[in-house]
Amino acid sequence: MTHAVSFQNVTRHFGQTRAVDDVTIDIAQGEFFAMLGPSGSGKTTCLRLIAGFEQPTSGTISIFGEEATGLPPYKRNVNTVFQDYALFPHMTVGENVAYGLMIKGVARGEREASAKQALDMVKLSGFDQRRPAQLSGGQRQRVALARALVNEPKVLLLDEPLGALDLKLREQMQEELKHLQRQLGITFVFVTHDQGEALSMADRVAIFNEGKIVQAGPPSEIYERPRSRFVADFVGSSNVMSPEFSKAHGGPEAWVSLRPEKINILTGDQKVVSNQFNAEGRITAIHYQGAMTRVVIEANGTRLSATLPAASKTLAEGQTVRFIWAKDAIVEMEKA
């Protein structure tokens, strides 16, 4: 099967900045692919390369097996949902959604029907006579989505589409987006810098850092087997232990990561069992976070954080504690 999008050693420079640096990745048809990374890591530039707003400095991009290099945006069967939605203020919602079809020369009646259908799909039936200015942020977001989907693109690009929404609406839209993607079977390429969003929605996540993809894989793999300190730290703030620290506490002599939720703190009568490692440290901070409490422990100069179910133990800052983790919770990393 041909790939929906394929990057072969793609590089995009802006003067001295390597916005995208030698990226090679294949995105499968029908896949929900998330790009995750810190600000300035090249995610948007990657999307713009697919959409055709940028051209690679070197390397090739193909879309459904066809080389796309040099093709302008309007000749690509790819649509984008922009971060600020970029709706046309002088058109009604209906006209906005029908815009792509009008450009293609679809007759008025037919495109109005399609636009209505697309608006139904994003649960905005009956809004077609309004102006974008008369909509809420979440509604505008849906219009932008309908405007892209009505063209039946092969690939839908979404650049932080939920960034401007409040938490509750964002969670609702996450579900709806995921549902739509399943239902339509379109390839989604989704940019975000919210790791929770990427992990919960995507089939596969690519972690960007300084223009490079440092790791790509299913969410569980990214989360549980980070290949580098950067990934361990960026995705879910894993603890990173140096080879010395790891070895001193029974682990392998390598950089290892340990998830905060895998650490437990021993209380008086509990004992260390055979399949566990343990260490002693001093609590330097306790952060109450609702359902969980995050405890920061300093042990031999290494800072570790542990998340514990709230109020499960009586702990105090400055207290010295023994903490344990299962041997198989340790994940060896390839790179520092």
Partner: protein, 268 residues
């Protein structure tokens, strides 16, 4: 609504208005006087015969009127094209010295007309360009472009670049994007700018004096008429026409841009 202005201010404003508009009223009044050599007050009698005279017996009005309309129309079209292009280029580009360049575009309207006139005249001399309709048009285009440029630039700032990209993303090429996304959003600014430009060109005297040679536009014809009095009220009749032709577009432009401000604000 309670007015905060004191009596002094109100009186000042009234005096100012009177000072500005009394001469205009006099122009209207003397278009109807029966005395044709000098303007005596009050007019000895009132008549509408000068309108008839101007229309039927003064063919010398038609040439300048035609020239003025032609020059204003061409200068406006040129201004619409080049003013829009300049505004588009400057609103998109980011480069060092952009603000200074923008200032250079606006300079012709700040410069005294006499300087623009002399500069153009010597430029035409150097290029050995004979005076023609086109030299007048060029002279007028200098300030007409500025008017359009200013109006359109303000509007371009509101169209963000994402909107253009969104249009291209949805399959529209550059021309379609301009036609369906950019043009509708700058249309009222273009209309307003164009009307202002037309009005400015139609009653321009100073730059025209330097770039017209032997030709007369309507304002220059009026100036000549005042020097040798013959059927003086006819000049007033023409003045009323000029007032109508310049004032109506300016009024329209004012309302158009005001309305644009409202819808633009609502879009945010």
């Amino acid at each position: 609504m309670r007015s905060d202005a004191g009596w002094g201010l109100k009186l000042g404003a009234a005096a100012g208005l009177l000072f500005l508009h009394l001469p205009l009223l006099l122009i209207f009044l003397y278009a109807f006087t029966t005395e044709e050599k000098s303007f005596q007050f009050p007019p000895p009698g009132l008549t509408i015969k000068w309108f008839v005279t101007a229309w039927f017996e003064r063919p010398d009005i038609w040439g300048p009127l035609y020239l003025s309309i032609k020059v204003a129309a061409i200068a406006t079209v040129l201004a619409l094209i080049f003013g829009t292009l300049a505004a588009a280029a400057l609103s998109r580009a980011k480069f060092y010295g952009k603000d200074s360049l923008s200032l250079l575009f606006i300079l012709p309207i700040a410069l005294p007309g006499i300087i623009t006139g002399i500069a153009l005249r010597s430029a035409f001399d150097i290029m050995n360009l004979p005076f023609s309709t086109w030299t007048i048009v060029l002279g007028h285009a200098t300030f007409c472009i500025v008017v359009v440029y200013n109006n359109v630039l303000a509007r371009f700032r509101r169209i963000n670049s994402y909107m253009v990209e969104a249009s291209m993303d949805l399959g529209a090429d550059g021309f379609q994007t301009f036609r369906y996304v950019v043009l509708p959003q700058i249309a009222s600014a273009l209309l307003a700018g164009g009307m202002l430009a037309f009005a400015l060109s139609f009653d321009e005297v100073i730059v025209t004096t330097f770039t017209a040679g032997q030709q007369s536009t309507l304002p220059i014809w009026m100036l000549q008429e005042l020097i040798r009095p013959r059927q003086r009220p006819v000049t007033n009749v023409v003045a009323i026409i000029v007032i109508a032709v310049t004032f109506i577009p300016i009024l329209c432009a004012y309302y158009l841009t005001r309305e644009g401000e409202h819808t633009g604000g609502g879009g945010k």
